[in-house]
């Protein structure tokens, strides 16, 4: 009986769909990740392939989020070379420019979430270092726990900010289309 094909973890695929715009670029990236996963699973085994898959997907999501912050989403800027430009250009151009006007509010929201994380992080560290229990014997253990918590909170805030920034335009666009349909 043939062995079942290895299956990549599901959450990185969901992450890709949340972070990247609906574009041929996203389909290609998901396909590339799957192809490399199958190759790695054959060469290194499924557990190692899953680790690599998650690592690559996370790295791609982080780079996409940083690029989106710099006003360069990963939507295709040009149509494919083998499709007549007149046929494909409007769709790609619309997708590339889609939601740019909406980005201002989303960037503000993302920066707000990130600022909250940084401020809370700073307050927690300050309270541990200069608080009333700063000189207590158990200070180091408490400090470590608070430090880990504060860093985790900041990372969570950064993640939320990235998701808001990357997936937000699509959500807003879908909501606008839904409203237009309802109005008709």
């Amino acid at each position: 009986m043939a062995a079942p094909l290895p299956v990549p973890p599901r959450w990185p695929q969901l992450l890709m769909h949340a972070v990247l715009p609906d574009d041929p670029m996203r389909d290609a990236i998901v396909g590339d990740l799957h192809e490399e996963f199958v190759h790695d699973a054959t060469a290194l085994g499924t557990p190692a392939a899953r680790v690599r898959y998650c690592r690559r997907a996370t790295g791609i999501a982080l780079h996409a989020a940083v690029d989106a912050l710099r006003w360069r989403g990963w939507a295709s800027a040009s149509p494919p070379v083998e499709v007549p430009a007149a046929a494909a250009a409007p769709a790609v151009a619309r997708r590339a420019a889609g939601g740019r006007g909406l980005h201002v509010g989303l960037v503000a929201a993302a920066l707000g979430v990130l600022s909250v994380g940084i401020v809370v992080n700073t307050m927690l560290f300050a309270s541990v270092r200069h608080g009333p229990h700063a000189a207590a014997p158990a200070h180091s253990a408490v400090g470590s726990a608070v430090g880990v918590g504060a860093v985790a909170l900041t990372l969570v805030c950064a993640g939320v900010a990235a998701v808001v920034l990357c997936a937000g335009p699509r959500w807003l666009r879908q909501r606008r289309l839904h409203r237009q349909r309802a109005a008709r």
Binding site: W74, S76, A77, V81
Partner: protein
């Protein structure tokens, strides 16, 4: 990555790799080519970001292949360097050659 129209080092590397791979240049292939040819491990995020930027600059174009089963039904996206990309590489090479000239005494001869 680069300013005022100049190519960054990584952009040059990726463009050269695409040229080397001819019509089979897609992201995993480029990453593998860089690993095997110059022993450079490339982060996938950095690679896609660079390809996206090169496309926006008009230095590469892309085409889609047929969807494949081993890619869960997704098509490969093959890149090729445009005429502007070739010109940018030539300009970068000329600048580099000028800067490398006369430094053999310090850096040794090219291998």
């Amino acid at each position: 990555m680069s300013h005022k129209g100049f190519l960054g080092e990584f952009e040059q590397t990726v463009l050269l790799s695409i040229l080397q791979l001819a019509d089979r240049a897609y992201a995993p292939g480029i990453a593998q080519h860089l690993e095997t040819s110059i022993n450079r491990t490339v982060s996938r995020g950095a690679l896609y970001s660079c390809l996206n930027q090169l496309e926006r600059k008009g230095l590469v174009r892309w085409r889609l292949d047929e969807p494949a089963a081993e890619r869960s039904g997704h098509a490969r996206r093959f890149y090729r360097v445009t005429a502007s990309g070739v010109r940018a590489l030539r300009t970068a090479r000329e600048g580099q050659l000028i800067l490398w000239r006369g430094l053999e005494g310090i850096l040794g001869p090219a291998q």
